[in-house]
């Protein structure tokens, strides 16, 4: 009797999982966009998308915030990367920490903190008005771009500083020997070397910018992008239009796909691996140049981390209802403890459940992808690209479209929120597991087999201990993503399955900034702890956060 192969079962289950959690939702979105309310096939939704100015504007706005966010992130990120990797900057580690803070804080906290500082009744704006300087409030496209630039610059910073510290110093010395001035050296030698990293980081910022929902929602004030339009159409109490929401989702998927493909192409081109015999050194600047470099780095770093700082400070301010008073108190935290315990508990249980699933399934499938290389696993690898191009809001709408009726009904359950987080983060774990497995020489397991261990024992005793630290670290980073997820949960939640980001978002809309700030701080502490544990397991590796 032929034994049922373990890996064949895994392969079948993986495809089943992808079919249910990915192909059915995406298919449902597509189908829903192609049929009208009475169930007839139609292209009217797409025609409407092309003709109605409202959607054309949203489409253009999406590109504007995407490209603008990318430009801002490129500007700030490359300045910071260049200064930190080429000049001696005091407290370089602290600067990196500021970048990590900007990266792990949810973007809508950023939007809210900037409203506190520069909004209609903003603190800084008020202060400046008292001094006679009148600046416009931060709402609208300008504000969104500021927030995106400061939120997404770490993508560029981390990628470019990685590339810059990998440029072999000998190349620049060779250029110097050939008579190039410092400026020429920078633009003709260093810049081409980091160009792939620069574009890859910039595109990453762009992809996140067009997928973001919270920031344009809170700061837009009439400035709508595709993500907010999709949500508005889906959630409108009167005239909710699912087929138009799914049409926008399809467009959003297509736009993201273009940039994700471009990003992957640019990352692959990042192949200038010089030998590291001659590492670049940092130059000690003098006088005003030194001041300027330090000012630039710390200004960007502190502005990027400003939302975090503001939330933490405001979380301790004394409040009376939603109104801030003079002085400090723990009232906001008391409110969380007494009224919002279930929200915190929901967030924790959903995230932990999702992370456990992600780690277990992701590791097994990662082993499958790395070890059983044939056509099927290549296809599998490709299929795992799909969640990368799905903005959270689209995943949410897709899950509603797929699981509201039909054989599997999940709407309103905790399961649907857990699964939406699971499917978005699964590809990351599969990829990191597969790549760390590929780095382990096959002779390791062969050595164990030759010493008398069966192949399975060899895998358990040799390979597993070698990849476990990476798996734990990856799980922690998945936890950070899971617990900060707003947009898909916002579509999928019901009263009993509300999570912290959703609650924060609603609190901000209600004007209860104190409680929102306290809840944000709790979120940040949890994220920070997870990042800390991850770094303990795999060494301090900021690149893994990308």
């Amino acid at each position: 009797m032929p034994r049922l192969n373990f890996w064949t079962v895994v392969m079948v289950l993986t495809w089943l999982l992808l079919f249910v959690l990915l192909f059915i939702p995406v298919g449902s979105v597509l189908v829903s966009s192609l049929y009208d309310q009475s169930g007839n096939f139609t292209l009217a939704n797409y025609a409407k998308f092309l003709t109605e100015p409202r959607f054309r504007v949203a489409f253009l706005n999406t590109l504007i915030v995407g490209v603008g966010g990318m430009a801002g992130a490129l500007l700030l990120g490359s300045i910071m990367a260049f200064c930190v990797s080429r000049f001696v900057i005091g407290g370089g580690k602290f600067v990196s920490l500021l970048a990590i803070l900007a990266l792990v804080s949810p973007p809508f906290i950023g939007a809210y903190s900037w409203i506190v500082l520069f909004g209609a009744g903003g603190v800084v704006r008020g202060f400046l008005r008292d001094m006679g300087i009148n600046m416009p409030p931060i709402y609208g496209v300008g504000g969104i771009l500021v927030v995106f630039s400061l939120k997404f610059y770490p993508y560029v910073y981390l990628m470019v500083s990685g590339a810059l510290s990998n440029v072999n110093r000998s190349l620049e010395e060779a250029a110097e020997g050939l008579g190039l001035t410092p400026w020429q050296r920078t633009f003709r030698i260093s810049f081409p070397m980091v160009f792939p990293a620069l574009t890859a980081g910039g595109l990453l910022a762009l992809i996140h910018a067009i997928a973001d929902f919270g920031t344009p929602r809170l700061l837009g004030r009439g400035f709508n992008v595709l993500a907010t339009e999709a949500f508005t159409l889906y959630s409108a109490e009167v005239g909710s239009n699912m087929s138009m929401a799914t049409t926008i989702s399809v467009v959003l998927i297509l736009v993201s796909m273009v940039f994700v493909m471009l990003q992957r192409y640019m990352s692959r081109r990042n192949v200038y691996h010089g030998n590291m015999i001659n590492k670049p050194t940092r130059i000690q600047l003098n006088g005003w140049r030194n001041w300027l470099a330090h000012f630039g780095v710390y200004f960007i770093g502190l502005c990027g981390a400003m939302p975090v700082i503001v939330s933490v400070i405001y979380s301790f301010r004394k409040t009376n209802g939603p109104v801030f008073q003079e002085g400090f108190a723990l009232q906001s935290y008391q409110r969380i403890l007494f009224n919002l315990g279930d929200v915190v508990r929901n967030s924790l249980t959903f995230s932990i459940a999702a992370v456990i699933l992600i780690v277990l399934v992701g590791t097994v499938v990662g082993v499958l992808v790395a070890r059983r290389t044939n056509l099927n696993t290549a296809l599998l690898d490709g299929a795992f690209m799909v969640p990368y191009v799905m903005p959270g809001i689209v995943i949410g709408i897709a899950f509603i479209a797929a699981f509201n009726t039909g054989p599997i009904v999940l709407t309103g359950t905790a399961t649907i929120i857990i699964l939406s987080i699971f499917i978005r983060r699964l590809p990351y774990t599969v990829r990191t597991t597969a790549s760390s497995l590929r780095q382990i020489s096959p002779s390791m397991e062969e050595a164990a087999v030759s010493l008398g261990y069966s192949p399975f024992q060899a895998f358990l005793r040799i390979t597993v201990p070698m990849i476990v630290p990476g798996i734990i670290a990856g799980g922690m980073l998945s936890f950070v993503t899971a617990i900060n997820e707003l947009s898909s949960s916002l579509v999928l939640y019901v009263g009993s399955t509300m999570t912290m980001p959703v609650r924060i978002y609603l609190l901000i809309l209600d004007g209860d900034f104190g409680t929102a700030a306290a809840l944000s701080t709790v979120l940040l502490v949890l994220s920070g702890a997870a990042v800390y544990i991850a770094f303990r397991f795999m060494g301090r590796n900021e690149q893994a956060l990308l």
């Binding site: 390791m444 062969e446 050595a447 087999v449 030759s450 010493l451 192949p455 024992q457 070698m466």
Partner: protein, 354 residues
Amino acid sequence: MSYLTVANATKQFGATFMALNGVSIAVGKGEFFTLLGPSGCGKTTLLRSIAGFNDLTAGEITLDGSNLRIVPPHQRDIGMVFQDYAVFPHLSVFDNVAFGLKPRKVPAAEIKARVTEALDAVRLGAMADRLPAAMSGGQQQRIGLARAMVIKPRLLLMDEPLSNLDAKLRIELREEIRDIQKQVDIATIYVTHDQEEALAISDRICVMNAGRIEQVGTPEEIYGNPQTRFVAEFVGTLNVLTAGAALNGLLGQLGLNAPGAASWAVRPERLGLDATGAASGDDMVAVPGTVAKYTYLGREAHVQVDTPLGMIVVQVANPGMAASRETGEPVSVLVPRDVPMAFGADGARLSTGG
């Protein structure tokens, strides 16, 4: 009867590529047997099929009289040393070496004694508690060697164990491997592409090319009496003589004749160098030429001479200061009668009777 025999081993990859094409070898108990050949010749494929990491398409492998192909790799009781060391980074040096004793249900006290002994044999006794990550390549390979030996395997396989080490360490460690192997008296199959290493370490060498065996023999036989042109060229260096009137004249003077010879060749170190116009005799012919290039290498010198037989390299041992030759200098290349080798169109060595 031989200890390990491989009969008609054939391994096919894809539709057409034959990694092994009917290879048969027989290795004696305690013998140090080396598979030598260029990359892609099938030597590693043969080693890995003995270890069980890939199966043959056809053929038989027997060890000590029993069929090895039906035994799963982890039950073959064969020690293996890897090119990339394959030292387990998460285990200490001691635990690496003890790793193979655990599934053999060896009592703890005996494990300690045997591991200590094995580590002393490879001179790592003082490093038992260290983690291997920060250790040098030579030390890591010593761990690999101790780990493979300590289980007292029925057969020891080594897959280019020294090729990732630097030149000096390579020579040092190959002597150690040779000594330890003789001490413990385990039949060993050693894979390398380094001919000098093969000559230095082996009882017998099997030279392989394109999935086939070219020649099996002692180092002296392989180097001194190559049976194919491939062996002669791969082990040592070779001057191939240009066909024509000059070659026919040389062979006539020496009274050499090989029917069906496609090419004639001479080893550089078997030739002599003399002043121009040196006399020829029955046993030695002086071929006139001019020096094209002189390369001084310390313990030897290579003199490239332009002759009617083509460019011929003459290797001069212990070149003194006076041995130096100027480019364009006229010289005679001395070819003793027993030096020229004849090869047929298929590359096989022909007898040069006459």
